[in-house]
């Protein structure tokens, strides 16, 4: 999550702006939530403003987005995060194919498949 934030906002150290979310359900790990580009594209299809599109990954048009949050609700894997400062949906863009999260993960729990 730190790596994701740093990849998108250089110099920013936080987990809150990350597009991947690791759920801590102590004593277990609840799950790793990130966009796993699905065939159905629920977020794109359900977006009432047509603010989301597909271009190798989900792309947001901020000028169309009304921050309604429908994309968050319809994603079956919890892959849409809300940016805490600007309120826009924050969706994995694969770091232009370089997958910062997978590169950083020390245990290989996150890998590109």
């Amino acid at each position: 999550m730190l790596a994701c934030t740093a990849a998108h906002y250089p110099g920013m150290l936080s987990i809150k702006q990350a597009r991947i979310y690791i759920e801590d359900a102590w004593p277990e790990i609840g799950g790793i939530h990130v966009c796993l580009p699905c065939k159905e594209k629920f977020c794109i299809n359900e977006c009432p403003e047509d603010a989301l599109a597909w271009d190798g990954h989900v792309v947001l048009s901020p000028d169309k987005c009304t921050l309604c949050g429908v994309c968050v609700d319809v994603c079956p894997v919890g892959g849409v995060r809300i940016h805490p400062q600007n309120g826009y949906p924050n969706i994995c863009d694969t770091c232009n194919g370089s997958f910062s999260c997978a590169k950083t993960c020390p245990t290989g729990a996150i890998s590109r498949r």
Partner: protein, 609 residues
């Protein structure tokens, strides 16, 4: 002022009046005292009325992060709790990992200073700029695990929590503060929180901290991650075995004490790291940590079936295990789980139980004094029952929870049997076996503690030039050097385990590129900050009534030779090492920092001579 690394604000909460104030962090304070323990001692030395009772409303509780806390520096999720200890009446700082510290930084605060006491149970809720005190009557009396669960249900799973359990509420000097299932351990910080009627601190933040020189910082982080991964210790051993990795080594070298420090072997096969590993079900890591030494252990069958804990750590395996003559790992897991739930310190509680077993076996106490519990060596069920009594402070548990130093006075004939320094129970290294550890215990600022310095690293684990266990030569130098380094680490937010692998020359550029503060780029300067903080803590301890005579070990380690194991026949007298240590520190023969030293360290305070 623009801050890098730091959040730039300190939150002040007065529980008596309910006043909450956010004040700007002082640049000079940050440069000289770094953070964590440094912020704690600076605040407490200046503001705590001299001689105040640890459980009085005048005592101050400081939760302080360091500049590295919450950043992507590996193993940087740690923070400090600083206060005056109810167990020793002296300085206390406890370091804990998990994710509470980073969350506090993201909420915008480097530290929380808590003063006064609330008339009724309260919780402190911190959500960025919205900070409030809310009634906690519904949670009072609840154990820590239940408190965590219900608070996360009520707020969110991303709200991070630090809370006390029943033992803290009952003001037990053995009480811990639990945070995200890890502990601010030793010395009774939980009781201070209990005396203030503060059940929990809940924090959720949406901010971030920033790095100053981004490219250099990222490069140094990558280098540190690689260094940790390449080390046999942090790269593989700790990931596989957790802290228990040193069990066999400590046994083999005779450092591992058994049966209340009377022996160093057991008749049964001692527990080793492979035995403990069989109980691990998964790894866990603190925030941003690539070492992942934390494990979840579960008991699958037998009388303790279903027991689980985050751990058990090396110290717990010793305190409820070898120290009590017990080799049943399942019972240790249950005991550690109970300690977490009650909010107890597992090292001290195990030490107390071993001490009681010693008294029981010698006939100093009988079943009439123990609510019928047969406290014989190795009785695992009795250990678990004793933890319940200590946790609830019920029946004899009321007295047991006072700790070994007071029990030595209470139980007739028990004087001299305890293993404690300045009122804090000793952890899992025999001072007769490791002369360096003996000095480390004697001179530690919070009493019998293995984390202020750990000279065993230089005595036997330094592969190129081991000093050896039994010589006293160079031990004062090692202890002083490690104390200053560990103190710096406790100021920084970094984990000691990372600092064992990374050199200070690697850590300094991290500080510098993160914060942009030039003086942090110099390793010697950082070490000087560690020394400064240690000396201010010394002044505090002297002011609160500590004397040089207290820098010693129990008499028994001088007169009672180890009867068995590789260190058979060894005793230890720390007095000559302590006087050398004073000289190296620049202290007088009474253990007081000289005015010249204070001037060199730029400490503008002194105490009445």
């Amino acid at each position: 002022m623009v801050w890098n690394g730091y959040a730039g604000k300190i939150l002040e909460v007065d529980l008596t009046s309910g006043a909450i104030e956010s004040v700007a962090l002082d640049r000079d304070l940050a440069e000289k005292y770094i953070g964590g323990k440094g912020f704690g001692i600076h605040t407490i030395f200046n503001r705590l009325p001299a001689g105040c009772g640890p459980l009085s409303k005048e005592n101050i509780l400081v939760f302080a992060t360091g500049p590295l806390t919450g950043t992507s520096v590996p193993a940087s999720g740690r923070m400090e709790l600083c206060t005056k200890s109810p167990a020793t009446g002296l300085w206390l700082d406890s370091n804990a990992g998990g994710s509470f510290g980073p969350e506090l930084k993201y909420a915008g605060y480097d530290a929380v200073i808590i003063t006064g006491a609330s008339p009724s149970p309260v919780m402190l809720l911190i959500e960025n700029d919205n900070v409030s005190l809310i009634p906690a009557d519904d949670y009072w009396g609840m154990d820590t695990l239940e408190t965590h669960r219900l608070l996360k249900d009520a707020y969110s799973i991303d709200h991070k929590i630090a809370c006390i359990g029943k033992s803290g509420e009952l003001l037990s000097p053995l009480a811990n503060v639990l945070t995200e299932f890890r502990s601010f351990g030793r010395g009774g910080g939980g009781a201070v929180m209990g005396s203030k009627k503060l059940k929990a601190i809940i924090v959720n933040g949406s901010g971030s901290v920033s790095a100053s020189e981004v490219a250099e910082y990222s490069r140094m982080v990558r280098e540190s991650v690689n260094e940790l991964a390449n080390s046999p210790d942090t790269g593989s051993a700790k990931a596989e075995f957790g802290t228990n990795v040193i069990l066999s080594l400590m046994d083999y070298t005779g450092i591992h004490p058994t049966k209340n420090f009377h022996r160093s072997t057991l008749d049964e096969k001692p527990i080793d790291e492979h035995d403990v590993r069989n109980y691990y079900t998964r790894d866990r890591a603190c925030f941003a940590c690539t070492i992942r030494c934390s494990k979840i252990a579960r008991v699958k069958d037998g009388p303790f079936k279903g027991a689980f804990t985050e751990g058990p750590e090396y110290e717990t395996i010793w305190s409820f295990g070898a120290h009590c003559g017990n080799t049943d790992i399942a019972s240790i897991i249950e005991a550690e789980h109970l300690c977490d739930a009650y909010g107890l310190d597992a090292v001290s509680v195990g030490n107390v139980i071993g001490f009681l077993m010693d008294c029981f076996e010698r006939g100093l106490i009988s079943v009439a004094d123990t609510s019928g519990i047969e406290l014989t060596w190795g009785n695992s069920t009795a250990i678990v029952e004793a933890v319940h009594l200590i946790g609830r402070r019920e029946g004899p548990g009321q007295r047991w929870s006072l700790g070994v130093r007071q029990l030595e006075e209470i139980i007739p004939g028990a004087r001299g049997l305890g293993a404690q320094v300045k009122g804090l129970e000793l952890p899992a290294y025999d001072p007769r076996a490791s002369k360096g550890m003996a000095l480390a215990y004697a001179t530690s600022d919070r009493g019998g503690c293995h984390l202020r310095s750990w000279p065993i690293a230089e005595e036997i684990m330094n592969q190129s030039n081991p000093l050896g266990l039994h010589t006293t030569e160079f031990k004062p130098e090692i202890v002083k050097g490690q104390q200053d380094l560990h103190c710096l680490v406790n100021c920084s937010g970094l984990c000691l385990f990372a600092a064992f692998t990374l050199s200070l020359e690697q850590i300094a550029p991290l500080f510098k590129s993160l914060t942009g503060i030039d003086s942090f780029g110099n390793a010697a300067n950082l070490l000087l900050a560690g020394e400064r903080v240690n000396n201010l803590v010394r002044l505090f301890n002297l002011r609160e009534g500590m004397t040089a005579e207290m820098d010693t070990l129990p008499e028994r380690f001088k007169t009672e030779p180890l009867p068995d194991g590789p260190c058979r026949g060894e005793t230890v007298d720390v007095s000559s090492m302590v006087s050398t240590y004073y000289k190296i520190r620049g202290w007088t023969e009474d253990g007081k920092p000289t005015p010249e030293l204070l001037e060199r360290l730029d400490i503008p305070f002194n105490i009445e001579a």
